[in-house]
Structures are given as C-alpha cells and as structure tokens.
Symmetry: C3
Amino acid sequence: MLHFTALVTCLALLFYFFTSFNVGKARAAFGVKAPAISGNPDFERVFRVQMNTLEWLPFFLPALWLFAIYVSDAVAAALGLVWIVGRILYMIGYSKAASKRGLGFGIQASAAILLWLGAFGAIAWKLVHA
Amino acid sequence: MLHFTALVTCLALLFYFFTSFNVGKARAAFGVKAPAISGNPDFERVFRVQMNTLEWLPFFLPALWLFAIYVSDAVAAALGLVWIVGRILYMIGYSKAASKRGLGFGIQASAAILLWLGAFGAIAWKLVHA
Amino acid sequence: MLHFTALVTCLALLFYFFTSFNVGKARAAFGVKAPAISGNPDFERVFRVQMNTLEWLPFFLPALWLFAIYVSDAVAAALGLVWIVGRILYMIGYSKAASKRGLGFGIQASAAILLWLGAFGAIAWKLVHA
C-alpha cells in the first residue's frame, strides 16, 4: 500500500477542485454566462488556471503512481507535494497577470518531469534486467 | 480484485465516449467546423457537456479507486453509479438550456465529493494508525 | 507487475507532453498571447491536437490498464502502441489541415475502443462466473 502517494493524490485533487470552484465564482463575478468560456480577460485567466491544471493531471497522476510503484512511495509523495506548491504559485501569479505565471509553472513542470524520468528509467531497467 | 469498481469505471468511460461522440454530431448539425469550438450557442452547450465531464473525470476516477481500495469496492461502485446518473441528468438538462444543468450537476458533484471524503478519511486514518 | 503496459503509459505521456509543448511554441509563432485560445486558425489546430489528446487520455489510460489487469499485459501494450501511432498520424495530418486528421483519428479510436471492449468483456465475465 502506497499511503503517502495516496494522500498526496487526494491533496492534488483537492487543489484541482478548488481551481474548478474558482471558475464558477469568476463566471458570476465577471458576468460570463455558461456556455461561454471567453469574452473577459480576467475570467479567461481564472479559466486557464483550471484548464492548465486539468491539462497536467493526466501527465502528473500516472507519472506519480508509476514512480511510487517502481521507485519509492515517500519520494513520489514528496515530489507530488512540490508539484502542488508549484501549481498554487502558478494560480496566484496567473490571477494577477499572465506574465507572472512562469515561476509556478516551472516548479510544477520540473516535479512532474522528474516523476516521469524516474518512472521511465525504473521501468526500462526492470524490463532489461527481467 | 475490485470487479464492481472496474465495471463502473467502464460504464463511466462509455458515457464519456457518448458525450464526445455528440460533439462530433453537433459539429455537423450546427455547422461548426474544426478547429473552431465556439460561434453557435447550441453547439457550445453540447461541447461544454463533454468538457465538463472531461473536467470531472480526473477528480472522479482517482477518488473512486482510492475509495474502492481503502474503503469498499461495492460502496465505491454504488457511488460511481450515482455519479453516472447525475452526469446523464446534467447532459439532458444542459442540452435544453444552460439554466437546467443544476440538478444533475449537484448529484454528480455530491457523489464525487463523498468518494473523495471517504478516501481521504480512510488514508489519513491508516497513516495515523500505521 | 505489468511492465509493458507501464512502459507504454510512459510513452503515451511523453507524446502528450510533446503536444502540450507544441502549443507553447505555436503561441509564440502565431502571436496568440495567453490566456487567449483562439483568433488564429493555425494556432487553433495545434491547440486542438493537444486538447483532443487530452480528451482521449482519461478514456485510453483506464481502458489500457483494465485490459492489462483483466486480459493481458503484452496485448494491452501492443494496442497502446497502435494508439500512440494513430495519435502521431492525427497530429501530423491536423497540423496540415483539419480535413487530414481522419486516418490517425480512426486508428487511435479503434485501438482505444478495442481496449475498452476487451476490458469490459473480461470484467463482466469475471462477475458472472465469480
């Protein structure tokens, strides 16, 4: 059982839920009625924070779990926490201006890529030495 | 093996596939050519049904499986079925008018949040009592 | 341990990462500044390649793994490779013109649907004969 990775997965889902909730609030605040997803740049930035988190989840979650299974539960969970911190910084920066989203983006991308590299390397090693 | 949760996962994927298929049909019916994703409100509502289902899948599926692993296969599958029913009501309501999507949305959100709460609680309990 | 499926999952994530990377490049090349996601058809086609891959991942990955668990690791991995090849052809075709995306789309859809059918059939069989 990979308890630490399971817990960090729940925290990542909680953060994602929060970004989705913000889109609903921004629809009301900026008067962008469903089904529209454009028309107001302030709304669009909040919407893009959710969308970008959504875009990264199918990369992050499988890489996180393959890393946990093939390398280490604790290290996977630690990198997963770094990913969440990066996403929070990305959200805070992007909500101010599109140009301020770089730092958080880089942190979360680095964490996700490390998870992928570790998983890929360990799987390839197992296959070669099986 | 978590057979019930596996089966409900297949059913959720089938429903999602159906919403994607509807977008293709709506492109033809309302004359919205790829790569455009806006321009006709009737098309946009069908598109948003698929997109909203896509937005919830990375929350629903991990919460469903963590609940199944840490709590119960049968209860996870039952809540998963409620989620699918909520999504179907959401689709039917949204296809009529944006204002009629509330009930289905609330049902599927409640089911997904219950799955998350159960999984999070059980994982935290295991970590504290490990 | 399902090493072949794990490896193919990494390769699918790598391809998806590549399509996301292309969106960033296309933003610069066609002058579409974040948070905008429309305004230039050449950008929109590159964006839709990423989005369509994202749309299929939550269908493909669970179907792939359920097939691997319930049917066969090697066959799941082989169908997963076909899916990736289809997605590459789709990307190449769509980057030229929206009308040239059909072949790759059909190949990846067929592979994903076969994975779903195999998984669904095997799970239903297990439940009936349990």
